[in-house]
């Protein structure tokens, strides 16, 4: 009869971990933790993380492309707006200077009501609403000054 080499003696489960913990005063080992995970969780976790990271990277790339496109669009639109604004501003400044600084009230009235060719600059792009406003303002000021 062959001698059986396998150890017939058994110990309670986790005995050696508990022994080590009690001898070394170690905290509770992970295997004794009451928390559990679904079967094969850690085996599939790696793949899930890699997939999520890849998805996020693609999203970030798209987001940065959209951001760059939006910035470009804003810059282009801003350029055109400033161009239009500056032309209008120059025209308005010129009118304001001529009307308010150079003309007297009579000339102003003539300019508005009768002869637009009185002044020899192009009226193209002239903001007449502004001139009306300026005249109104001038009259109001004159009225206020006279009543004082």
């Amino acid at each position: 009869m062959k001698p059986n080499k396998s150890n017939p003696f058994k110990v309670p489960s986790n005995y050696f971990e508990e022994l080590e913990a009690s001898l070394l005063k170690k905290p509770i080992a992970k295997s004794q933790s009451p928390f559990r995970v679904p079967p094969l969780y850690f085996e599939t976790l790696e793949e899930k993380i890699t997939q999520n990271v890849n998805k996020r990277t693609v999203k970030e790339e798209y987001a940065s492309l959209y951001t760059m496109a939006a910035i470009f669009l804003v810059l282009v639109m801003g350029f055109f707006w400033t161009q239009t604004d500056s032309e209008e501003a120059i025209a308005n400044d010129a009118i304001e200077w001529v009307v308010l600084e150079e003309m007297n009230t009579y000339e102003m009235a003539t300019f508005i009501e009768t002869d637009l060719s009185y002044v020899n600059f192009s009226t193209e792009g002239v903001n007449f609403d502004f001139i009306d406003y300026a005249l109104d303002l001038n009259e109001t000021n004159t009225y206020e000054n006279s009543s004082n």
Partner: protein
């Protein structure tokens, strides 16, 4: 001679080797980080969400890692912050404080499929959940993860002295709570 850590960081920051190095990083640290997160958020599904976000954050920020601390303490810090942010979001959605939310989670462990602790471990988890947030983190890292105070100090940006005091207070509170319940 280049250390293993600096070699890993170099591979992670090099676009050509990044993917492979990241897979190595995930393989090495996924379980440690998972258990760290799980002890904070308690629920498996929540821990699963947080670990995904943690690794995404690690990947996105790896180029800004200077190598001044150990990579695992840096990752632990990210995992801790992600877990706390997660709790904050969940709690505020329900109009609860963080501590009330975590205490409710601890109370629900009894019905959790992925928790099979006995009454004693359930009581221990409830007692841990009743600790203030920082003490809870310190207790988990010291008692369950067996991290050194120096490592916890780097993760939580707190002095070793303060950590020792907090751990002492935490153990006293837990002992008291457990003995009160058994009386």
């Amino acid at each position: 001679m280049e250390t293993e850590q600096s070699q890993l960081i170099r591979s992670l920051q090099d676009p050509e080797t990044q993917e492979l190095a990241f897979q190595r990083l995930v393989a090495t640290y996924k379980e440690r980080l998972y258990w760290h997160i799980r002890k904070i958020v308690l629920d498996h599904d929540d821990a699963n969400d947080v670990i995904q976000n943690t690794f995404i954050k690690i990947y996105m920020n790896i180029n800004s890692f200077q190598g001044q601390s150990k990579i695992y303490t840096w990752m632990y810090r990210i995992a801790t912050n992600e877990s706390l942010n997660f709790i904050q979001k969940k709690a505020s959605k329900l109009g609860l404080s963080n501590s009330s939310w975590i205490e409710a989670k601890a109370a629900g462990l009894v019905a959790d499929t992925y928790f099979d602790g006995d009454r004693a471990s359930l009581k221990l988890q409830k007692a841990i959940a009743s600790l203030p947030e920082k003490q809870r983190l310190i207790f988990n890292m010291k008692y369950f993860d067996d991290l050194k105070y120096e490592a916890i100090s780097e993760i939580l940006d707190t002095s070793v002295g303060a950590l020792k005091a907090s751990y002492h207070h935490a153990t006293q509170k837990i002992k008291k709570q457990l003995s009160d319940e058994t009386e």
